[in-house]
């Protein structure tokens, strides 16, 4: 019940944020631009419209997670509303989980609205909409669940700008972790191998969630991969939240 109240409060606060509205408008413009690009695509319009739509949904949601999530806890500390919250019988970990679920709800809201816009654009441009497109968006949501947890983690230890920057860096690196593994495989040095493998498993492997390319090219998608990737997202997010709770528990206000 206590967590639900924090979730509701976080959601309402984020939805009122002008930043979210600006990001949504930019996202819609990007999706709508497919209509302009279509005549220039030389027979590849279906691919381009789908690529553009799926990428826009993910990018907009990533920006929401990084920019809104990065200042979530810090704002409470700065405005001193945290004292009111912690004066109530709420455990600090409940506060973190409530904030996380609230932001995840915002991400879900953003993705749902953007998906609506994307399907509208598919309809307007007479592009066939397949079920697998939705699957790619669902996996992106689980990717976002990890990024949100990381943004919240940094929000407990850093200022909004620093937290957003750190989250963005982790997001950027986490898209290339497979190169770490590949480097470990070809490197003759035991130290390089060890370090590459260590960071490969330490950092989130966000490429697990990127099936956009396969979906657009109508490739077969392995359901076991999707199932395991979802479990991966749940476990990884829980771990980051656990770390955030430990740090938040130690914080003096």
């Amino acid at each position: 019940m206590k967590i639900l109240a924090i979730v509701e409060n976080t959601f309402k606060e984020a939805v009122r944020d002008r930043l979210l509205i600006v990001l949504l408008v930019i996202g819609f413009i990007a999706i709508a631009s497919a209509k302009i690009i279509k005549p220039l695509a030389l027979g590849e319009e279906t691919k381009i419209i789908k690529d553009l739509g799926l990428a826009t949904i993910t990018i907009t949601s990533v920006l929401v997670a990084i920019l809104v999530g990065g200042r979530l806890v810090y704002k409470e500390i700065e405005k001193r509303t945290i004292y009111i919250m912690l004066a109530k019988p709420v455990h600090r970990f409940q506060f973190i989980i409530g904030k996380y679920l609230g932001l995840l709800l915002v991400i879900f809201f953003t993705m749902t609205v953007m998906t609506g816009g994307f399907y509208l654009m598919l309809y307007i441009t007479s592009t066939p909409a397949t079920y697998s497109l939705l699957l790619a968006i669902v996996l992106s949501f689980f990717e976002l669940s990890i990024i949100t947890a990381i943004a919240l983690f940094f929000s407990t230890i850093a200022t909004p700008i620093t937290a957003s920057l750190f989250t963005f860096i982790i997001y950027f690196i986490s898209n290339f972790t497979r190169d770490l593994k590949a480097t470990a495989q070809i490197s003759p040095s035991v130290i390089v191998k060890g370090l590459c493998n260590f960071f490969y498993y330490l950092l989130p492997n966000l490429s697990n969630f990127n099936i956009r390319n396969l979906v657009v090219h109508n490739e077969i998608i392995n359901s076991t991969t999707i199932f395991l990737s979802i479990i991966y997202a749940v476990v990884y997010s829980a771990l980051i939240l656990c770390l955030a709770s430990i740090i938040f528990q130690k914080k003096d206000f």
Partner: protein, 288 residues
């Protein structure tokens, strides 16, 4: 105090258990993929329309993009070298790479050598190198590589001599280049100059893949020379006895050869249907 310590132990246990789960989950996800990691990484590059498109997309990070493509190109080459020896995307990869970083001499060098010898595409290799010479007019390596391909693969000794000569005049060029130019122009001793060039390449490079390629080609040259000697003896036998010898040992028995050499990989040369060959050399040449 004890409660606090217990909380710490519990937290650390949760984190260790969590990351162990992540480790096993990630490995399980990888097992579900139909293709190996190296294949998938390179496959993604196939969706890149070309370096022309990537250049503006990467904005000011083209060098970093080039480095990533370089790492993947090595994985692509290594993977196919160890498996099917088919390199159909090698040209595309190096075209993309050198567009992103037109001054990446090592990429032109490695790309052209692997394209010419492994992918058996000497003409695209020369095209890649010529593109490189436009951006790097003072690099001796690029005209040298063009000359080497003309000499060894296309048997165009005039063109080879011309490019060796250009390379010899550029700053930092090997001293021996003018000699090679002369060799090429005289069209003398193809195996001899090839051996010399591969030996120099082997000694000058730090790239292990190029070293391995040089070693392989040196061994093939040695095999060619041994085969030429044995084949001449077989011809002599045929002239003397009106038939081909039943095996190579017969040539040794009647003194047509002083000894029966082993091929550079330690195997025996074989005589079959009047032709002398090394099974290993044939396998390497056919890419199996």
């Amino acid at each position: 105090m004890s409660l606090k310590r217990n909380n710490w132990i519990l937290s650390i246990a949760i984190l260790i258990l969590g990351w162990t789960t992540i480790f096993f989950l990630q490995n399980s996800i990888e097992k579900t993929y139909r293709r190996k990691l190296q294949e998938r990484l390179v496959e993604e590059m196939m969706y890149f329309p070309s370096g022309k498109f990537l250049k503006p997309v990467l904005m000011e990070y083209q060098d970093l993009g080039a480095d990533l493509v370089w790492l993947r190109s090595i994985q692509y080459y290594g993977y196919h070298l160890m498996t099917d020896r088919r390199y159909e995307w090698l040209g595309h990869i190096f075209e993309t790479l050198t567009r992103l970083d037109p001054f990446f001499i090592a990429a032109y060098h490695f790309g052209s050598i692997t394209l010419a010898w492994d992918a058996r595409q000497p003409t695209p290799a020369i095209k890649l190198l010529r593109t490189g010479t436009k951006d790097n007019p003072l690099s001796w390596q690029l005209p040298f590589d063009i000359g080497f391909i003309y000499y060894s693969l296309l048997n165009d000794f005039d063109a080879a001599g011309y490019y060796f000569l250009i390379a010899s005049k550029l700053p930092g060029a090997w001293n021996v280049l003018s000699r090679w130019s002369a060799f090429a122009f005289e069209r003398a001793g193809k195996n001899e100059i090839s051996r010399q060039i591969w030996t120099d390449i082997y000694n000058q490079t730090n790239n292990q893949a190029i070293k391995a390629l040089a070693e392989r080609n040196l061994a093939l040259i040695q095999a060619d020379e041994d085969i030429a000697v044995l084949q001449a003896a077989v011809k002599k036998y045929r002239t003397a006895f009106g038939k081909y010898p039943p095996n190579l040992y017969e040539l040794l028995k009647i003194g047509y050869v002083k000894y029966l050499p082993k091929d550079p990989w330690g195997g025996l040369y074989v005589l079959k249907d009047s032709i002398v060959f090394s099974p290993k050399a044939n396998r390497l040449r056919s890419g199996k």
